[in-house]
Symmetry: C2
Subunit: 317 residues, 2 copies
């Protein structure tokens, strides 16, 4: 049993992390949960600042996410994009009308000088997210993807426009060297009973978080209470290019590769039952492997995964 008072901080990307968080707030007090969210996917579109991972986490936790996609808002309409299309503008990144209001609000507040962490709290409050949501940094970090043909493109161009169907030679996080953690981020790690690295893409979702000054060190310092959930099941990502990216970067595209990435930071790895045969290899890395069902079909199964994950870290420490 997980104590509802357990304070849990979750390093989060987008859809997978959001579902995990929605499960987590069913099994521990939401007031004790902090999501530290990737911002390296953020993109300026049409003059508006779009923060896909922050919004996916916010909308999911607030119960207003589109159930069909796992991102964007329920009951969405697409009138603004229909106009952009009519005028011949780019439509590869589709912004819904309801969602646009979030971007309008964020863009205005940032232009007024409010830091992203403040604006994020306002947006999370407005939509009704029950726990704290922090951008990993108020500074700009941008994932840049170098393709094997030598071109370097932005993350959303890679992920959405190219549908991640192009071969990657390298990934870098522009600005990460100078990015400071947003207020509260390091404290949320230090003060947590358990830190979870969510089942997000280890390269492009968790990678930028760990590149922010202090994050790596603070996690390493409490390694016994840090647990990583593998987003790879049977060597495949349920969504997105995590498997292919790891392979293209010369790493093992499976739960072992993920555990290796996190081995200095996380004493425990949660892996799917289909990957039980990999447990011994993970343990050989000095990482305890906990085998459970990791597919989050609905809030109930996400809650069960969250409970199992938090229990594992508590037991480990």
């Amino acid at each position: 049993m997980v104590s509802p008072d357990t304070r849990v901080t979750v390093l989060a990307g987008g859809v997978g992390a959001a579902r995990f968080l929605a499960g987590l707030v069913r099994v521990v007090e939401p007031a004790g949960v902090t999501a530290v969210v990737n911002v390296a996917d953020d993109v300026d579109l049409f003059g508006l600042r779009v923060s896909p991972d922050l919004d996916t986490v916010t909308y999911t936790l607030a119960g207003v996410v589109s159930p069909e996609t796992g991102w964007g808002l329920v009951d969405e309409t697409w009138q603004a994009m229909a106009t952009v299309e009519r005028l011949g503008g780019p439509t590869w990144f589709r912004l819904g009308d309801r969602d646009l209001g979030t971007h309008l609000y964020r863009t205005r507040r940032l232009a007024e000088g409010a830091p992203l962490s403040t604006v994020t709290a306002e947006i999370a409050g407005g939509w009704g997210a029950p726990c704290r949501i922090l951008p990993v940094s108020d500074d700009r970090i941008e994932t840049r993807v170098t393709l094997t043909d030598g071109r370097e493109i932005g993350f959303q161009e890679y992920f959405v426009r190219e549908r991640h169907a192009v071969e990657v030679a390298a990934v870098r996080f522009a600005g990460a060297d100078d990015a400071r953690p947003a207020p509260g981020v390091l404290e949320a790690i230090d003060d947590a009973d358990v830190v979870v690295i969510a089942p997000s893409n280890p390269v492009v979702s968790i990678g930028p978080l760990l590149a922010v000054a202090g994050l790596h060190e603070r996690l390493a310092a409490k390694r016994q209470r840090v647990v990583g959930v593998s987003p790879l099941i049977g060597g495949r990502a349920l969504k997105g290019p995590a498997d292919r990216l790891l392979r293209e970067l010369g790493e093992r595209p499976d739960a072992v590769g993920v555990a290796r990435r996190y081995r200095d930071l996380a004493a425990t790895a949660v892996i799917d039952t289909v990957d039980a045969p990999l447990a011994a290899e993970i343990e050989a890395l000095g990482v305890r492997a906990v085998v459970t069902d990791t597919i989050m079909r609905d809030p109930e199964t996400a809650g069960a995964l969250a409970a199992r994950t938090v229990e594992a870290a508590v037991a480990s420490s």
Copy 2:
């Protein structure tokens, strides 16, 4: 009878000018019509460039304007603003979802370095406006309103947020001294058979146009072929604060005041039948007064007014 080949250039503000133009393209070839439109009402909202007069003219000429308001788009929805409201953002300037697409497109193209005149042509083409629409300038001009309490506010703050229910001490057009006419504007005046000053607010719609270098001189040079349509009927504006503004600025708030404003530029004034008693005073200014029904109830009556206006200028020259 007006020859359909008559080339007509119209100095235009928002709703009144748009209706006049929609009537005009019924009585002359649209290919020979150029609208030179005020941009001093333009405003940056949520990071987006909004050009209210250009859009009102474009939407009206394209037949997609909201029939209820005379501005904005038909079949509009307001989902984005509902989100902004939920988040506690400012909602005094309401941007519809369909309309937002135009602002997204414009903002992106301007950021790419395209001049406003190019972007305006693209937007007009996309929506299907049948005649040429030019911003008076590609440079930024901003109407600034000084209130009698000493505060200076932007035009949309005065017009929309305060609903023009505050007393005005002065109006200025910031940037107008350095603004150059957009490509084609001076030629459209020089080459026109007739230039119409539309029934728009003479202070804040036509005023900024005349403040752009060269406009005043070019109009004065062809004064016999320039005709102004009074937006004031019986001393009242059908819409907006033209009457009150003229009074507050110490001018006559009626068709005589309007004719006096334009007397150096326009040999002819078109005034409403209810203002027939003012004709003699206008003629005493050296301006020929043409009396007709100027209320544009529908495209037919707008067409009749446009025909009468163009005829008057041709007859005058």
